[in-house]
């Protein structure tokens, strides 16, 4: 699953439209939009709101095996042009000094930047960093659920020393909209990474079926999981394996049978 976290609806709107996300009528704490393996949550302004929304949406999707995240929003910058987009590679919380390093996606052609997350709005522009009000809260929460490679923050400059457009909602949507193709490329790259991780997971139905065949102690379950993941990833079909195990009466003999299959298979490296 890919989760978008945006402070404002106007930042999320181009994404909602592009991916045809539908508003959820069940969620009350936040505005949430759902699509195919994708959710977008509107957190409200500020790092606390962003952290709360991120934690809430992750906790609301406990079945998601691996979550990729994109925090999308606008930021201030001293000299960058209005509309420039950056992939954050360093996020510093101005109040606590805490630093986060979302891992750069190597396939990305987007420019990287540091970002300072402020507790209050400010027009004290700094040369070497973007500034926003959410990224550190988002990072703090999202990194508890996913790895730094799957946790990204995209910021588009809405305000600089010469011009401020961040309060114009229509304009903010336009700024995001003009990057929608690059944003989509970033999404694809993240999905690619996420797929690689998800492919290694156990298929839940077959796993449950296997567990129901005998009483396994926790140690046996651990061993079973290793064997089952191995064979699943080596393209043994679960139906055929479950068929071969049907005659086994005990947890031990099930494990032994799977071990024999694994040993045979692995002898060719």
């Amino acid at each position: 699953m890919l989760i978008w976290v945006c402070a404002l609806h106007c930042e999320a709107k181009p994404v909602i439209d592009y991916y045809r996300l539908k508003k959820s009528h069940d969620a009350r704490a936040f505005d949430v939009y759902h699509g195919d393996d994708m959710v977008c949550i509107i957190s409200g302004i500020g790092k606390v709101a962003s952290a709360a929304a991120s934690a809430w949406i992750a906790a609301s999707n406990p079945g998601a095996t691996s979550i990729a995240w994109i925090n999308l929003g606008v930021a201030g910058a001293a000299e960058h042009e209005i509309g420039d987009m950056f992939l954050l590679n360093k996020v510093v919380d101005a109040d606590s000094g805490q630093r986060y390093y979302p891992a750069p996606v190597a396939a990305s052609s987007l420019a990287g930047s540091a970002c300072l997350t402020l507790g209050q709005p400010s027009d004290n522009y700094r040369e070497d960093t973007l500034f926003d009000m959410e990224a550190s809260g988002f990072m703090h929460a999202a990194l508890r659920f996913s790895s730094a490679e799957l946790t990204q923050s995209l910021k588009i400059v809405s305000d600089n020393r010469r011009q401020q457009t961040g309060k114009n909602r229509q304009r903010v949507s336009e700024l995001v909209q003009q990057h929608i193709d690059s944003i989509d490329r970033q999404v694809r790259a993240l999905f690619e990474l996420k797929r690689e991780i998800a492919a290694l997971e156990l298929a839940p139905e077959a796993w449950q079926q296997l567990l129901s065949m005998a009483h396994f102690t926790q140690t046996q379950k651990n061993r079973l999981r290793v064997l089952w993941r191995y064979l699943g990833n080596r393209n043994f079909s679960s139906e055929s394996l479950l068929g071969q195990l049907a005659a086994q009466k005990s947890a031990r003999s099930i494990i032994q049978t799977l071990e024999q299959i694994s040993f045979r298979d692995s002898e060719d490296l």
């Binding site: 360093k90 390093y101 750069p104 290694l200 290793v226 080596r234 490296l269």
Partner: protein, 332 residues
């Protein structure tokens, strides 16, 4: 493909950092306070990172040179190890480095002088006795040589300390800088090999066996002591013929009489590393083989391990002088 360069602010203006940054000028650069803040957090995926690791340029504050684990090395009385880098540009599936750190990024330490001071101090603790310094424990000593210029600093350093010996453990072919220097009898470059079948399945990114043999040959020809490490020997159905083929290939080009030392060891990992790595690569046949836990070490069941070592030893002994052979005692 390297994704970016992290640089500790404190070493930003270090001459070695500047050299490195010049080479890496096309990569995004991110300033950090301490390498640990990128290298150590738990929320990283080693497997994803290994595809596009970053380079971290850093300062090693303490513990630059440490006592080697019991049984490590070639049997000397005083054994130490040091790593001017953490992690490796290659990706051998059996490598314990995969389970060692949270991160797959490559850390390059630039304060060689502090490593040098410790090497001198340690050597001075054992006057008149040979003291071995092993490089390539947490990395491949030479793999990043064009960037790190490790040999330019450490070879003259060790050469100047009468009782210091150094082993550079490598799977790379980066010997160009050594070929430009005068050979030093107390500095051994040890090349590790696994058979061709294991190489093709398990040693991602590692130069071919033929190229490594050629690098060895050139070092020997230039007068450098060279060691051979058949480690790890990995079990597979054809391991015996594959091992014999490997020996044939090596000794067709290398004069066994000129080797400093030869060692041999079968695949083994500490239990913790094994667990961590097999979780990272659950589809890897190497970890699905029949293994056995003994004293915190996971390796092949004793009878299989014995059979493998005995076979390989016997083959090896047909080709090398007995005095150059050192079985691997170190398990871990």
């Amino acid at each position: 493909m390297v994704s970016c360069v992290y640089v500790e602010s404190a070493v930003r203006n270090h001459p070695r950092t500047e050299q490195l940054l010049e080479r890496l000028h096309k990569l995004p650069r991110i300033e950090i306070e301490h390498y640990g803040e990128v290298f150590n957090p738990r929320s990283q995926n080693f497997r994803l990172q290994k595809k596009n690791p970053a380079i971290i340029i850093a300062h090693k504050n303490k513990g630059q040179v440490l006592a080697a684990p019991e049984g490590y090395g070639l049997g000397g009385d005083y054994n130490y190890y040091f790593s001017h880098m953490l992690n490796c540009i290659y990706d051998c599936r059996y490598c314990f480095l995969q389970g060692m750190y949270q991160s797959a990024h490559q850390v390059l330490f630039v304060n060689y002088e502090d490593f040098g001071d410790q090497i001198r101090q340690i050597a001075a603790l054992h006057p008149g006795k040979p003291v071995w310094f092993y490089s390539g424990y947490d990395c491949d000593s030479l793999a990043n040589e064009p960037m790190t210029r490790f040999t330019d600093y450490f070879i003259p350093l060790v050469a100047a300390i009468d009782n210091a010996w150094m082993e550079l453990r490598t799977k790379s072919t980066q010997v160009r800088s050594m070929l430009k220097m005068e050979p030093v009898a107390r500095i051994v470059t040890a090349f590790s090999f696994s058979d061709q079948f294991s190489h093709s399945k398990l040693e991602n990114g590692v130069p071919s066996i033929a190229k490594r043999i050629e690098a060895m040959r050139r070092l020997i020809e230039a007068g450098w002591p060279v060691g051979l490490r058949f480690d790890p020997v990995v079990y597979h159905r054809q391991y015996q013929t594959a091992f014999v083929d490997l020996l044939d290939q090596v000794f067709a080009k290398i004069d066994a009489q000129k080797l400093h030392s030869v060692s041999l060891g079968s695949f083994r990992l500490t239990r913790d590393h094994f667990r961590k790595i097999s979780r990272l690569y659950p589809e890897e046949p190497l970890f699905a083989q029949n293994m056995h836990l003994n004293n915190g070490i996971i390796s092949y069941p004793l009878d299989r391990e014995q059979e493998m070592i005995e076979f390989c030893e016997a083959q090896l002994m047909k080709r090398i002088p007995a005095q150059s052979y050192h079985p691997c005692e170190w398990h871990g």
